[in-house]
Symmetry: C2
Subunit: 198 residues, 2 copies
């Protein structure tokens, strides 16, 4: 039987459990049991459950960056197509997991932002970095006249991400990817897309 | 000292606590203590914590209906303005509470939809009713040519609600109503608003 007992393994196992059950419903004991780690080791690695939350956020963000940044940098596609493809890629992962779990950033924002200021700040930072990456692409799309010149691309990038998070939540309750697919259709074919014809 | 001990009071106190702390982080004991109810009474009123969740959802939805439906029925405003005003009213309440708490429907969707099928179904039902109410107004707006004829109003209504929920979550993490104000601006002035000029 494989014994898992380093910090990275606890973070990986903990991330999966928190994505499935939520933060407050995931006890330290369940994480240690699943990771096959002796009781007591948790606090060798993390001074508190809050510090553990910061570690799983960093892991989640690092995994996301690995998936999304190659799409953002794919110069074979026009900038707005890269934005669209990046969301479609996240949606495919979510739909493949029976529309459960969702996005750790959204989940912890909902559950922890009011109670744990350090966690709120870490989530805020990661959302700002995501916004900045999308805003750069939207700014390029604006220079290429794919989206209207009067749109504030920082505002639009933040709104795209928040509407995606909202559609993810709606899909989680509906147990169907339909709201996410409609998000793609409305933003990229209707709200932004038809502008090209104006 | 006032003694509170009926079911409605437990629901009201429990709703406030769950909005502040989340469902899993709110213990039955904390609710009873806050409601000034003897230990043990909880299970006289609710067979389980899940049944209690259903009761606070119903209370939250009833309170929302009382606020929103008079706006939906206000014939002194054009239909699309009523939709906009209904969201602005919710935003003012949220901003007035320091951008904390948020929407119970969104919060419980995030925290409970994967684990409690009865709760998921109740949330789904309330979101469908909300969608239906907005879709009727959007359909009227379409007849009056305020929004484009090719938009599916059911889809747009669902997307408006989910994007609002996403903006609410973004505001909760940012501790600023800015993402919600930008949601109003983008949807009503840009995505839908500029269509009037076409």
């Amino acid at each position: 039987m494989k014994r898992i007992h380093n910090k990275d393994d606890i973070v990986q196992v903990g991330l999966d459990l928190v994505l499935s059950r939520g933060f407050n419903a995931t006890g330290v004991e369940a994480i240690l049991k699943q990771a096959n780690v002796p009781k007591g080791s948790f606090y060798n690695f993390f001074s508190s459950k809050e510090e553990f939350a910061l570690a799983i956020i960093d892991k989640f963000v690092a995994d996301r960056v690995e998936v999304l940044y190659p799409i953002y940098r794919d110069v074979s596609l026009p900038p707005l197509e890269r934005v669209k493809k990046s969301f479609e890629t996240l949606i495919a992962t979510f739909a493949g997991a029976d529309c459960s779990k969702g996005c750790l950033i959204g989940n912890l924002g909902q559950e922890m932002a009011d109670q744990f200021e350090n966690v709120r700040q870490r989530l805020e930072k990661s959302l700002q970095e995501w916004t900045r990456a999308l805003s750069e692409l939207l700014f390029q799309a604006q220079k290429e006249k794919t989206i209207p010149p009067d749109l504030n691309t920082d505002m639009l990038a933040e709104n795209l991400i928040s509407s995606f998070q909202g559609a993810l939540l709606r899909s989680k309750v509906k147990k169907s990817p339909e709201p996410l697919n409609n998000f793609i259709h409305l933003y990229f074919d209707v709200f932004l897309g038809q502008r090209e014809e104006i």
